[in-house]
Amino acid sequence: MVRCDVVMANDVSGPIAFRSMEKMGVRRVFDPGRVVMVADHFAPAKDARSAELQRRLKEWSTEQGVTFYDQGRGGIEHTLLCEEGWIQPGSVIAGGDSHTCTYGALGAFGTGLGSTDIAACLALGEFWQAVPSTIRVEFTGEKQRFVTGKDLILAVIGELGVGGATNAVLEFVGDGALALSVDERLAVSNMAVEAGAETGLFPADETTRAYLDGRTDRPWTPERSDPDADFAQTLTIELNRLGPLVALPHLPGNVVPVADATGTKIDQVYIGNCSNGTMTDLRQTAEILRGRKVHPACRAIVVPATQRIYREAMREGLLDVFVEAGASVSTPTCGACFGGHMGVLGAGERAVATTNRNFRGRMGSSDAEVYLANAYVAAAAAVAGEIVHPSEVAA
């Protein structure tokens, strides 16, 4: 069994976990100081039923004395927990959401679990876990213009396939990994699960330390593989040769260079979610949209991941750039990424999204198509009304 430093759930996974915890005959959580609940999936409430889930999440949190982030005070769970200092290198986070692997960006073992697993974590503070193998992913060289963390992880998933890292963790190393900002590391780690991995770790370094400074005062020590560690596999991605990529419908592993998808007409662009809704993504979006307009045949939705990011983007004038371009700016929410609300797709529609999954029906209709890409590519598609290389829209 593995001890949890933090247990997290949301308005979808939480209420089901609470019921399971009751069935386990446990009335109080193992440690209220280590439990966080976030209303983000159907928040702001999509309908009466979603409102009820969020009400229960809040009431349960109050009753148990655990931290609760309501709408307007938090944002998308994974970006939020990093921002709020819940995550330290070397810590273990059990999250009732598959993208809990995002915390690997800060050198933590964050891993996604179902609600019954979360119930046991809430009750006893531990989950069952075999020691995973490690796949070493080395990023070498320098990122090219219009290439972001999104492309690095799409390249990895394209190589490994959507089940290639099952029972393994990814460890990201190399000069190309060290050069990434925390925002870009979040984008990379977030999609580790899309290759089947349990988490995607960046060994903590000075970049991590600088990010955590002022966010947490809990002590931590960086973890990394021993020099003589055995790796299940080693993968090298040469950044000098990597251009912007796109994952075609309906698997995140259907990865091609953007050139292979150009000309595809697009009905909606969605920029946001737990992988790519950071200030870095919003600045990239603004670089493309500033002084330009969203194509009349296309609509664009921008979703800052957290309230803090929303506010920072407002101060920087980015929200004004988006609105001026004809994009909708949404309050932080998981929203349409999982087909919940706030921008789902109709039959026959095509979207470019900076999100992490393009499964059939993921963002709405089963007859819709989702193309995954970075914020530059997404914003350029919004301007052109079709998939283009960002260099065709902006220099």
Binding site: V12, M24, K46, S98, A119, L124, L251
Partner: protein, 165 residues
């Protein structure tokens, strides 16, 4: 444990949790209601074949994607006793173990099964039969075996919690 059933084959590899249980129904809490949405984005007619004698047979990396437990809760609500597949995504497999749905990673058996094949699983004997052909059941980790023997993570944790109090 002995399971006697008929194969309901889910064709293809990489069948994800979104097609099995679309996100728009994630605000449903009652497993009886979840039943109605199972396989909605894949092939809703599969629901007609689910029941206490239906053994789900899957391809590789079945259940990739979301941690949503709704898929397994709905399978249980239909009374499905077991899943036999070539391989499973991690969280899906955990959810099956945790909720007491028998799950077997048995690639040859999954390959041999056709829709309607007769399936017999005898865990004590360590055997899995497809249309009378016998296949070995690969061993699982001891802790997983304990969880399965206890009927899932809820009864197992209940006992541990009692021991600690």
């Amino acid at each position: 444990m002995i399971v006697d059933g008929v194969a309901v084959v889910i064709p293809g590899d990489d069948v994800d949790t979104d097609v099995m249980y679309p996100g728009s129904y994630l605000n449903v809490e009652d497993p009886e209601e979840m039943k109605q949405y199972l396989f909605d984005g894949y092939d809703p007619s599969l629901r007609d074949r689910l029941g206490p004698d239906a053994v789900l047979v899957t391809g590789r990396n079945f259940g990739l994607g979301s941690s949503r437990e709704h898929v397994v809760q709905a399978l249980r609500a239909w009374g499905v006793p077991a899943v036999v597949g070539k391989s499973f995504a991690r969280i899906f497999r955990r959810n099956c173990v945790n909720l007491g749905l028998a799950i077997f990673e048995a690639p040859e058996a999954a390959d041999a099964a056709r829709p309607g094949s007769t399936i017999r699983i005898d865990t004590d004997a360590g055997e899995l039969e497809v249309d009378g052909r016998s296949f070995p059941i690969p061993p699982v980790a001891e802790l997983v075996a304990q969880l399965q023997a206890a009927g899932g993570l809820v009864p197992w944790t209940k006992e541990r919690a009692l021991d600690r109090s």
